[in-house]
């Protein structure tokens, strides 16, 4: 509907200024189909945890390069509201560092190193199917500098998927 309205408006404008060649060109071009963004995602849990309800759709349609400018201050506020005792985490990140990392919702993927959310050595070099991203996230947000704070909240004790992954393409297990 929007495209139709725009087209009528365009034609009317063109006629009004009698630049009919532009109008002919418009008619001859094959119409281009456009798609408008509804959702986006990279890391797990970012939008729900750090974005207020009224802004969730806005976050889902804010391009990653604009997320820091638009949401960084809000992410830090949210982090400290959720865990008022936050100081640093096991990676040594203070509240600015952690919220600043998370606000730009992209998956950093290494083309040279092993790909993992966190394996004790590599940090955010990808996301493998078996990565326990919930435990990793909880630990970094609630575990404090040594990972021992809030012990009841830093792992859910579900450490693996219910089906084995495949060793070859398409890697994900067959459906139930």
């Amino acid at each position: 509907m929007k495209r139709i309205i725009n087209r009528y408006f365009f034609v009317a404008t063109v006629v009004a200024v009698t630049t009919l060649t532009a109008c002919d060109k418009d008619k001859n071009d094959a119409p281009v189909v456009y798609y408008e963004q509804q959702d986006q995602m990279a890391r797990a849990a970012i939008n729900t945890v750090f974005v207020d309800a009224a802004e969730k759709d806005k976050f889902n349609t804010t391009t990653p390069s604009q997320m820091n400018a638009t949401f960084a201050a809000k992410f830090k506020t949210k982090l400290l509201a959720l865990n008022a005792g936050y100081t640093t985490n096991a990676l040594g990140q203070n509240a600015d560092a952690l919220s600043g990392l998370l606000v730009t919702d992209v998956l950093n993927v290494s083309t040279t190193a092993p790909t993992t959310y966190f394996d004790g050595t590599n940090v955010l070099t990808g996301r493998a199917l078996a990565d326990d991203v919930i435990d990793i996230s909880l630990l970094l947000i609630f575990g404090g500098p040594s990972g021992t704070s809030n012990p009841g909240l830093t792992k859910d004790n579900v450490a693996a998927n219910d089906k084995a992954f495949l060793s070859s393409f398409p890697y994900l297990a067959t459906p139930h």
Partner: protein, 218 residues
């Protein structure tokens, strides 16, 4: 539902003594709840051939086995992997997947003429594969540029004890059980899997940034 997003939020709300109690449907992203455009998870990892990266976009989460056979991709929903290879968080390449009613057609990796929240199909089809039907062996295909592609139902690879979180939120538990119970056990998603030769990604800095967008035909 944005399950991945819901779950951690539920956990987080526990830690503030229940002062923020979010019901699950209140923390969904309103525009995409229960839509074909709702992304549940994104994965990126080395392929069995370490010269390749595998990108996964899962959609339409929490499908029970009885509902999986009827779940379909939507011909008006573009599923787009965005790749930034110079670390400015702007897409330099896209891999697009669009359903034509029987097959999933892939475009790219290709430098997009449109960046940001509006897209058009870029260039020509580089790979296509029949959508695997529920209960059938996975159908895969390799494109003209060497990408491998799959589209269809899969087990949801995500795992988490969501039910125990709900109990804590409800005040009937104070922490997790050990062992926990995987709430996503036995559920499926609709998956797009693309395995891409690293040479197609232009990753001169040793890394790329990846995110998935879903876009509706306008």
């Amino acid at each position: 539902m944005k399950l991945r997003k819901i779950m951690l939020a539920t956990a987080l709300s526990v830690a503030v003594g229940g002062s923020i109690l979010w019901a699950a449907d209140h923390i969904d992203s309103p525009a995409v709840t229960n839509q074909s455009s709702d992304i549940t998870d994104v994965y990126a990892f080395r392929g069995a051939d370490a010269n390749n990266l595998v990108f996964v976009a899962n959609t339409q989460g929490l499908l029970s086995p009885s509902a999986t056979g009827a779940a379909k991709f939507d011909a008006n929903t573009l599923i787009e992997f965005n790749v930034d290879n110079n670390n400015d968080n702007v897409e330099d390449l896209v891999i697009q997947a669009i359903y034509d009613g029987s097959k999933m057609k892939f475009y790219g990796p290709v430098a997009p003429s449109e960046k940001g929240t509006r897209s058009r199909l870029e260039g020509s089809v580089t790979a296509e594969v029949a959508v695997t039907t529920y209960g059938s062996t996975a159908v895969t295909a390799t494109g003209s540029n060497g990408i491998k592609v799959f589209a269809g139902p899969r087990d949801d690879p995500f795992f988490f004890d969501l039910d125990q979180y709900k109990k804590v939120i409800g005040g009937t538990a104070t922490g997790f059980n050990n062992p926990g119970n995987d709430t996503f056990k036995g559920t499926n998603v609709l998956s797009i899997v693309v395995e891409v030769p690293k040479t197609l990604l232009g990753a001169s800095t040793g890394k790329v940034n990846l995110w998935v967008e879903t876009k509706k035909k306008i």
